[in-house]
Amino acid sequence: MKQKLSHLWGRDGTKSVLASLISIVIGMAVGALIVVLVGLLNPSMGPSTMWEGVRLVFGGLFSTGRDAAGQLTFGFNSTNLGNMLFRATPLILTGLSVAVAYKTGLFNIGAPGQYLMGTAATLILALSIPSETVPPALIWLIAFLGGIAAGAIWGCIPGLVKAYLNINEVLACIMTNWIAANLVTWLFDKGSLFEHLQNTVENTKTAYIYKTSFNGVETSKMGLDLIFPNSQVNGGIIIAIVIAIAMYILMNKTTLGYQLKACGANRHAARYAGISDKRNIVLSMAIAGGLSGAAASLYYLSGNTEFFWSTYQTLPAIGFNGIPVALLAVSNPIGVVFTGCFMSMLDIVGLQLTNLTAYNEYITDVIIAVIVYLSAFSLVIKLAISGGHGRKKRAAELTAADAASPPPGGESPDAGNPTAEKGGEEA
């Protein structure tokens, strides 16, 4: 038994999981600390308010409001859990997008652009195909696959540029992100091809595209609304988990995954073994792009999300948040499912803080930011756990961690909300 335990302890994966958990715990603790600090600086907040804030930071997901006596109550909250799963869906997929690329030696910072292209393709297909003649389920499928294809094509571009011109994929990704942002705006703008998709019925807000449910297209609930009543959850989360499992199998069990990883780990050796390095670089960026496209498809096909079309000076946060999701999961596709859920849980926590206390949701942004930084350091934490022998190895891994450290990002993935001013700083 002891031997088994020490074997488990000795495994690399165990240490990675622990390192991520430590990042999370420290992040939450910092969040709690800030709740206390804000409370101390604000005379209207007493110790009880602070304590409520701290409890919500850790247990916001299970908060059920307040009882008659004004005390916080906790328990099973189907709305919170369902919404968490709903918000996790696109995050899991953009996380997979970054993780799969990273496993093949590429840093896909182009997820926002791929996500936008997927959004545009999905919405155009879902809203343009007449539902009087075509069954909505078929439209749904076409729109979903169209979104994946658009993302994949957009992901191909940095891949091609990298494979044939040896231009760093990070540069190409950043540029294609902004091209996507402007292209999408142009597509839906006044006088453009798809201007008619602008929402003129529920015109309480301007510059939104119709929800796909306007054309009768929305993702099946797959029975999840029965488990999590009063929430936005739909079958998308199941599709995302299936895709995550498929990615795990692709990367670890197939010859294609073997080739992709070989190219990523040593392009020269792969070429020596007759593996086409160029083809594999393009392919892995296409897969990454397709996953980001799928994220957009599932998010907008839910039928209750609407797209703010004026994206020319903003990039969707969901795309960037794929980076911490992947980092925290150490690029393990199965791990991404859990870290994606965790990130969306923090969103729920933020909402609970806003609704139930004098604190606002931005505290959870701080938590996410701390975790993002720590997840970049998770290799250091991992080495600290293993006692750190081998300086050379540590140096090498540190360099790798530097290269992978994410850009500052991490607003709540509240995509219905225009985040124009904030998004602009990110790339």
Partner: protein, 516 residues
């Protein structure tokens, strides 16, 4: 006791260092006398580098102590080592490529005044040292632009600049040309004459016999013994190192060459550094049942010739015929159907270092139905095949098939590549410097493998820089000089001296068709 203290400048007593799955150093004692050249001999993975890393403060031993001049010292990091006057030339140089030679030498030991660098003083000191020991370097050249030999001189100057009196050389000759090796030997002797003490890690017996006063032998992490070079010979040293009698000479029967497997006609391969072709109008045949050796001094087009043959580089002219098929424009994978390739650079081309050993062993074969079904890898089949190769070719590693290739010793990495390539059973084996940096045990093994493949009727094309290897292993020698074949020699009818003349370009055969 007193005399002992004065005599031994460094003593490493009962050092034990463990890594997961392996005891790299098991109760090892090493005593270095003042002013001696002390060789540390052992096979790859015997623990030489680990022991030196302990001395240099890169690793902390689990047991044992280090004494300097009889005083126990604790070396926590390389800074402590430097403070104790210990300097090290690593096997893989620790230089910053984009810095100049001078900047590299003074890095970490800069003379400053009010926070400003005093490069003039530093330059004077380095120039004096370089003059004194004949270590020619261009102080203003960037490290990336200078030869490997000069980079090593930069490393040596780094130690001298820091006034180190204990100099560790970790396999310094592995990367040098024969001339550079001679110069290095002379420099080391000069250092010893001046009273500096030298630890010289090597597994080249010739060099040890030539330059060292005493030898400490390690085997599989254990201390075997320390002997005076004047009381021993190469054969007994290699027996000590390997633990069994070793065949230093290659044993082989007369070659019985058959059909030509590979025909090379007027092959030219472009160069990346010059406008001129790196390989120009080269024609030859490699025949079944024969070891054909391409000899030459490094940089005369051998690398490019192999790239051209294997498809890693596009040829600019000529035709290649392999087993009757024109492969001049074939892809690497198509060529691989009849050719296996033991690459020159085992880290760049030979292995995916972050993959496990078993993943590396199927690198060339993972597409075969034996290892995959409908694109899904058969893990059990891969494991079984890997275990079989590991067993058959005696590839040693910490965790067997799942060992990460990066963590294996150089010799075992090379054995893994040889196992993979030889086991593919292709009619042509291209082996580029297959024994570079390996110990006698591994060399003996690889040589016997290549001879065995020859005897099975395969064509072996060997590219080697080592004259001994060329003379002993090959059945026919082609000398490459400045990208052209300048001579075809029979190893039995020629001498090392004559071969050397061809290699240096001093002598060449008349080209066919040009008239004798």
């Amino acid at each position: 006791m007193r005399t002992m203290e004065a005599e031994n400048i460094i003593e490493m007593l009962h050092i034990t260092k463990e890594f997961p799955g392996i005891i790299a150093n098991d109760d090892i004692t090493l005593q270095l006398r003042r002013g001696e050249i002390h060789a540390l001999l052992g096979e790859n993975g015997a623990g030489k580098s680990t022991l030196m890393s302990v001395l240099f403060g890169l690793y902390q031993p689990e047991a044992g102590e280090i004494r300097k001049n009889g005083q126990v010292v604790k070396i926590n990091d390389p800074n402590d080592a430097t403070a104790l006057g210990i300097g090290m030339v690593h096997q893989h140089f620790q230089l910053i490529d984009v810095f100049t030679v001078l900047d590299n030498i003074i890095l970490g030991a800069e003379t400053t005044k009010f926070g400003f660098l005093q490069k003039k003083e530093a330059r004077k000191k380095v120039e004096a040292l370089s003059e004194k020991y004949g270590l020619k370097v261009d102080l203003d050249a960037k490290v990336e632009d200078i030869t490997v030999g000069m980079q090593q001189r930069v490393e040596i100057l780094k130690m001298l600049y820091r006034d180190n009196e204990i100099l560790i050389f970790d396999e310094p000759t592995a990367v040098l040309t024969p001339q550079e090796i001679e110069e290095l030997m002379a420099t080391m002797k000069e250092f010893a004459r001046e009273g500096k003490s030298i630890l010289f890690i090597s597994h080249k017996l010739n060099e040890i016999m030539e330059v060292a006063d005493r030898v400490t032998v390690l085997r599989k992490g254990k201390y075997v013994g320390t002997v005076n070079t004047c009381d021993t010979d190469k054969q007994s040293l290699s027996n000590m190192m390997v633990g069994r009698p070793v065949q230093l000479e290659v044993v082989k029967d007369e070659a019985r060459p058959g059909e030509a497997v590979l025909k090379v006609e007027h092959l030219s391969v472009p160069s990346h550094t010059h406008k001129k072709d790196a390989v120009h109008d080269v024609s030859f045949e490699a025949r079944a049942g024969e070891i054909l050796c391409i000899a030459g001094i490094d940089g005369n087009g051998q690398t490019e010739l192999v790239y051209g043959l294997t498809g890693l580089e596009k040829c600019s002219g000529g035709t290649l015929t392999l087993c009757g098929h024109d492969i001049s424009h074939a892809s690497i994978r198509q060529r691989g159907e009849n050719m296996s390739h033991i690459p020159e650079d085992r880290h760049k081309h030979g292995l995916v270092l972050d993959f496990t050993l078993e993943q590396n062993l199927v690198l060339q074969r993972f597409r075969e139905p034996q290892f995959q079904h409908m694109g899904f890898i058969k893990p059990a089949a891969v494991r079984e095949y890997a275990d079989q190769l590991i067993e058959q070719y005696d590839v040693r590693s910490g965790q067997g098939a799942v060992t990460i290739a990066r963590s294996m010793s150089g010799g075992n990495q090379q054995k893994a590549i040889i196992a993979r390539e030889v086991d593919r059973e292709k009619p042509l084996i291209v082996a580029v410097q297959p024994t570079r940096g390996l110990d006698v045990g591994a060399i003996e093994y690889i040589h016997s493998q290549l001879v065995a493949e020859r005897d099975k009727g395969r064509a072996v094309l060997l590219v080697s820089l080592e004259l001994d290897e060329v003379m002993s292993l090959s059945d026919r020698i082609l000398v490459l000089y400045e990208g052209e074949i300048v001579g075809e020699l029979d190893p039995k009818a020629t001498t090392v001296q004559e071969l050397g003349l061809y290699m240096a370009g001093a002598k060449r055969m008349a080209k066919e068709g040009e008239g004798a």
